[in-house]
């Protein structure tokens, strides 16, 4: 199939970018969205033009690198699917597709569709860890965890740190990401020790990095490729209140 692309092109972080039009020809519906861009780039290189710069790594939906806003939706139109796992059969021959980088003050554009997402890493560095004794590997099942808690923790731990929640948020807030990390650790006994400090320093780091405040728009939940729910933001808020009044 043939497609009409409008892609954000920006040479440098300090340059003003613009949307540019490209044609993607002979695209197979079995290609992934990134493979489609590979084809377009090969054509551009053949013609001596600068290929479109975009981020990717695993191409199997687990690393969270493929940050693109496709037709106004981070990671594109398919629910709970990263851009790399989005297949071209989700589009029709002759479609016009707009491709833009994730937008937020905390995610400066480096080039074209590539953004700097290290602000999320610094939120993790602030408190997204647990303290553990070094030494031998502990025996399995020495710490018993109720099935329900394990499930909740796993649901939250599904977050791959892609930043689509920030991209979708009208306030550029990283609350869903932060909430997923805080909740994931707060429900497990290993994470309880630092739970109070963690929720405070991670939310402080979020604001310091230039992310906005959560306005309960819930756009993040719709965009999240891993189906992280805003119930975890309510959980983060509870954890914060608990920390303030000193409940362990």
């Amino acid at each position: 199939m043939d497609l009409n692309l409008f892609v954000w092109r920006q040479k440098r972080p300090d340059e003003k970018g613009a949307m540019e039009r490209y044609e993607a020809e002979d695209i197979s519906p079995d290609m992934s969205f990134l493979e489609m861009l590979d084809v377009v780039n090969e054509e551009l290189i053949k013609r001596g033009m600068e290929p479109i710069a975009f981020d990717h790594d695993c191409r199997e939906g687990i690393c969270g690198m493929c940050s693109q806003v496709i037709n106004g939706i981070p990671h594109g139109p398919r629910e709970k699917t990263t851009a790399c796992q989005l297949h071209m059969r989700n589009f029709k021959d002759g479609d016009t597709i707009y491709i833009e980088p994730f937008r937020a003050k905390a995610f400066p554009v480096i080039k074209d569709l590539i953004i700097d997402r290290s602000a999320l890493d610094r939120i993790i560095q602030a408190g997204g860890y647990i303290s553990a004794h070094t030494g031998g590997v502990p025996d399995a099942n020495t710490i018993l965890i109720p099935k329900e808690d394990a499930d909740t923790a796993m649901d939250a731990a599904e977050c791959i740190g892609c930043g689509a929640c920030v991209a979708a948020c009208p306030n550029g807030s990283a609350m869903l990401f932060t909430a997923a990390k805080v909740s994931h650790l707060a429900v497990l006994p290993q994470g309880k020790i630092e739970a109070a400090r963690r929720v405070c320093v991670m939310t402080e780091a979020m604001l310091k990095e230039g992310f906005g405040n959560c306005g309960n728009h819930y756009e993040c939940q719709a965009a999240c490729p891993k189906g992280i729910k805003v119930k975890f933001i309510a959980k983060l808020n509870r954890e914060y209140i608990k920390a303030q009044i000193g409940i362990k």
């Binding site: 949307m19 937008r103 807030s173 402080e204 604001l207 906005g212 405040n213 965009a223 119930k231 808020n237």
Partner: protein, 186 residues
């Protein structure tokens, strides 16, 4: 002091002060002298002064922190998209700053107008009241349910129910006040 600078801390204050004012908006409708079916509110005597102070403080904190948060949020999203698709958010949620400013201006006008004869009954007064009520309605349309999420009283099951109740409450307030205004039509 860290509480007042924290993103969640401030939102909790904004949510709580907002909800205090919502309670007043409801009571004000029920016990309103224009209400054809008035509900007799208990006489609380000198407690009234205390509640006035509480409301005034709520108004000040809500407005100050609300505006501060809104300014930060705009700065955090300096550029939007050429094409953007929305899923859950709506006009009311996206315009909390503006509906808040309008509602605040309306409330101040209303308080001054309490001793100003004819306010709300003249042609211009009616328009101001309608605009003010609409702004307040939009503000509550997002705000009432938002409170529960912010203070952590929410989960996957309760969220849609709380949203529907919050929106319903906002509609009831709009219809209730507008109805009384019509009754008072000159």
């Amino acid at each position: 002091m860290r509480f007042f600078q924290n993103t969640v801390g401030r939102k909790i204050i904004v949510a709580a002060t907002g909800q205090i004012m919502v309670v007043f908006v409801v009571l004000h409708l029920l016990g309103n002298p224009l209400n054809p079916y008035p509900v007799k509110l208990p006489d609380i005597g000198s407690l009234k002064q205390l509640l006035r102070v509480l409301l005034l403080l709520s108004f000040i904190f809500h407005a100050f922190l609300g505006v501060q948060v809104a300014i930060e949020n705009r700065a955090a999203k300096p550029q939007t998209y050429v094409v953007r698709k929305k899923f859950h958010t709506n006009f009311a949620a996206e315009n909390m700053l503006w509906t808040g400013i309008l509602a605040a201006a309306f409330i101040i006008y209303h308080l001054l107008g309490a001793s100003m004869p004819g306010a709300g009954s003249g042609y211009i007064g009616t328009v101001i009241y309608l605009v003010g009520l609409t702004a307040l309605f939009l503000h509550l349309y997002h705000g009432i349910a938002s409170f529960f999420q912010t203070v952590g009283c929410n989960n996957e099951r309760t969220l849609p129910v709380i949203e529907r109740i919050g929106k319903g409450m906002a509609v009831i307030m709009l219809v209730g006040y507008a109805y009384m205004m019509l009754l008072n039509w000159p």
